[in-house]
Symmetry: C2
Subunit: 570 residues, 2 copies
Amino acid sequence: MSFRVWAPRAKELSIVVSGKAHKATAEAKGYFKAEPPPEGSEYLLRIDGRDLPDPRSRFQPKGIHGPSQYVAKSFDWNDENFRAPPLSAAVIYELHVGTFTPEGTLTAAAERLPHLVELGVTHVELLPLATFPGRWGWGYDGVALFAPHPTYGTPADVKRFVASCHAHGLAVLIDVVYNHLGPDGNYLGEYGHYFTKRYNTPWGAAVNLDDAHSDEVRSFFIDNALMWIEEYHFDGLRLDAVHALYDESALHVLQELSAAVHALEPKLGRPIVVIAESDQNNPRLVRPPEVGGYGLDAQWSDDFHHALHAALTGETNGYYSDFGLVEHIARALTDGFVYAGEYSPFRERRHGQPLGDVSGHKLLGYLQNHDQIGNRARGERIGHLCSEGLARIGAALVFVSPFVPMLFQGEEWGASAPFQYFTDHQNPELADAVRKGRREEFRQFGWDPEQIPDPQDEATFKRSQLDWAEKDRAPHRERLAFYRGLAQLRRESPELLDGRRDLVDVSFDEGKRWLRVQRGRVTLLANLGGDSVDLPAPAGELQLSFPEAAPKQSGANITLEGESVYIFRA
Amino acid sequence: MSFRVWAPRAKELSIVVSGKAHKATAEAKGYFKAEPPPEGSEYLLRIDGRDLPDPRSRFQPKGIHGPSQYVAKSFDWNDENFRAPPLSAAVIYELHVGTFTPEGTLTAAAERLPHLVELGVTHVELLPLATFPGRWGWGYDGVALFAPHPTYGTPADVKRFVASCHAHGLAVLIDVVYNHLGPDGNYLGEYGHYFTKRYNTPWGAAVNLDDAHSDEVRSFFIDNALMWIEEYHFDGLRLDAVHALYDESALHVLQELSAAVHALEPKLGRPIVVIAESDQNNPRLVRPPEVGGYGLDAQWSDDFHHALHAALTGETNGYYSDFGLVEHIARALTDGFVYAGEYSPFRERRHGQPLGDVSGHKLLGYLQNHDQIGNRARGERIGHLCSEGLARIGAALVFVSPFVPMLFQGEEWGASAPFQYFTDHQNPELADAVRKGRREEFRQFGWDPEQIPDPQDEATFKRSQLDWAEKDRAPHRERLAFYRGLAQLRRESPELLDGRRDLVDVSFDEGKRWLRVQRGRVTLLANLGGDSVDLPAPAGELQLSFPEAAPKQSGANITLEGESVYIFRA
């Protein structure tokens, strides 16, 4: 087996094992070739006299600055017969390993899988695993993209987790960050032309996807994607913030990546999905290449989230200023993108393009996610910001939508734990900058800096961990039952699993703030206002509601209490 | 009639006519509205105490820093019946007003139109008309995009030129530069958010096409395009360097611009074309929107140019290092793009994507253009760099190609005038920087700075003007007859007007350096090598050749002299 390193910026490269340097042979295009280190051994790469971790390190047992470990790829898989369900029938669950359990490990997370099965989840989506600075963090500061974060577990632990999911009938997706690298421990620039100054991103120089030497950089990310699929048996990827992947070349890296991943399907005999986070409202991402698309399987729908959040909480700051009407929810349910060429006051420009015939199953619909919770000053979940009734309306709309529902860990029982912004930067200057930056960011919105949790404080991390004991207690127990009911109703109602947005029939009254969604035999009635309203009674039986009691009937009408939701099925 | 100015950065705006300021009324989104200045009057816009030219000035009689003139739009058109021929039957002629005639005016240029008709040209393409610094220049430093350069003529002169072209049966295209503005006299930033720091271009901050306030910036350029078409009766646009138009929004500005321009066609009752200069080899530009394209009508094919130039001159520096084989010419003729995903040594990355079923008529084919000549240290034309025979081979291949042929002014008679880089910057620092920059650029390639023409020297400009007397003298006369013959042969051979690249049959011998192109009844045989070669005689009669004499026949073979070309038609 050969060991190759791309290091065009290095004059010389050696592999250092147990203090002994083994010189690698220079090859064309900046590659160096050598005998691999012994399996299980720790090593560093010496480039021009400096000892650094391997850019493609499979494990960093001592963290981002420490030696790499040469890890065996063999694993005793037993999931030959597992096939992920299609996105059209999926319920996705965002899981952050560090806060999902008090232990913060993959092994501990695996013990909670029966809960997810019972809830009706089909796909677990792990927040990034790539090694990042310190012991805890969200994971979007990763720098060793091929190495699982050591406090979560070893590479074998990741494989055991995936195998355990598959044994429980659950597919597993992994969140990967290809648009930037973390500010600490990023040694890639020492090796090669991983970054370009052509484009400016919020994190500095952009990843080099179209400048000289970009072939190798693109391969770096695409090989990473393929590794998680092939070697770790993940069922798909969630690509972070693809709008920050600047690529003006004739083959967009997203199209190349999607094609490379899907090319594995016949070989592996199982379906793989690639899902993007994008703020562009651009249908090109999820259209097939035959019509000029990038061929991704789905993308997150922030418009649907923002429409729900603004209408339920009444918040109108920042990007929520583009939303707030019941009409925005209605538009999201039928059109997918609320902004499909319209002027966005927040962006101060027209935004998006119409989705046309793109299926609703190419959008993920969610009431909450790690970003929308965690990017708040204090990391509040929706239940901390509005009434139980309004939160239930939001959940019901997610499951009755034509989109692929996604939940954030603990949402199903209205977890009391926030999801705050926490870091464990070891570099004192960076730690200070992150702490100050966070305070400064929210000071602008009128926050008292004392009220902003210190991201570097371990208590901020601990506070964000789920308290599993509460899920069986009121009122969490009732919320959980409601979510289970929603997942079951969706699973058992073919019309709810239909992605055709043009069949979604929505009516609403902006003044009285009620909304009616008709999908085949299923009718959802929601009253977002505080006052009760009378509406014609839908056909069929009440399936789920909040409050639980059936609504009062008078003649052909029923009375919806304030902040209530009712789902009927004929 | 209303007069509106977009000036979101101005607190106040007045129109200053004859020293008197008339205050404009602020409207939504940064617009100001006022009574227009009297027709024909000169005016300035006073924003926050500073008097500046109008960003949409229709004429700058005293140059880029002077007052704007409010110009009448009426003109006595007499071209109702003119319809531009389709690109499939076009021969385009690049014309730089300043150097096309000794006078350097549109009026003088119009007198030469009979020559173009006789040559077989169908479309005149004017290098940029927008007002730029100084008296002469290429025009790519324009800053008043709505105002024709005053030394070329007035707005009425432009209309008279277009009308004259149409009266001669010639269509007229205009080269527009939307990717940057010139370094002197660019006041746009004082008015509004015309630039963004998101992207870095060779000219500094990029034009803002997707950031806040970009709607108005996009309108600025699109309205400019529409003005040339609607008010000036141009038949189309040539968009400069579209690869520097950075736009990550869901509707690329090229698609929006193309749609806006083509939407005029039913109203105007005549066809309009939009042609891009692009170095991306990206078929998306010329594919229709239905399959995810931007819907442009055509783009320049630098690959075909580079393949011809490198093979004919033997030059291998810079981007010519990717070319040089006869095979590259053959590949360009059949595939359009030579680099369609292959590794480009010059770019140090893979480049381009295959054109697939895109017609050859969506590419412009040329042996020379203003850029490829003028960007050389001394502005040499192809005839200055290779033998007459090789230059004729290049010309013949352009006209026998499946692409839309384009010539650069004077190419048709092998003009002795170079096309050097000339400027007339009035700002002394800028003049010095341009002079030094030019020398420095070529010093890197081993040039003696003394040999680099001074771009600020009037002699450099004058040297680049065509000498019309020479076209009727040997050897120019013969070259001109050859070009006329090529245009006529193309016009009269339906197979040459067929854009299907898959029907182009090319064979070649890299060692002996001959190339054979078969298109229906037409056969081109070219010998790029110095030694004679024997090839099977094609069917049909000799139509055109260099040298003129028919080749020697021996049995079924004919003998091609060194550096010769023969075109037969059965």
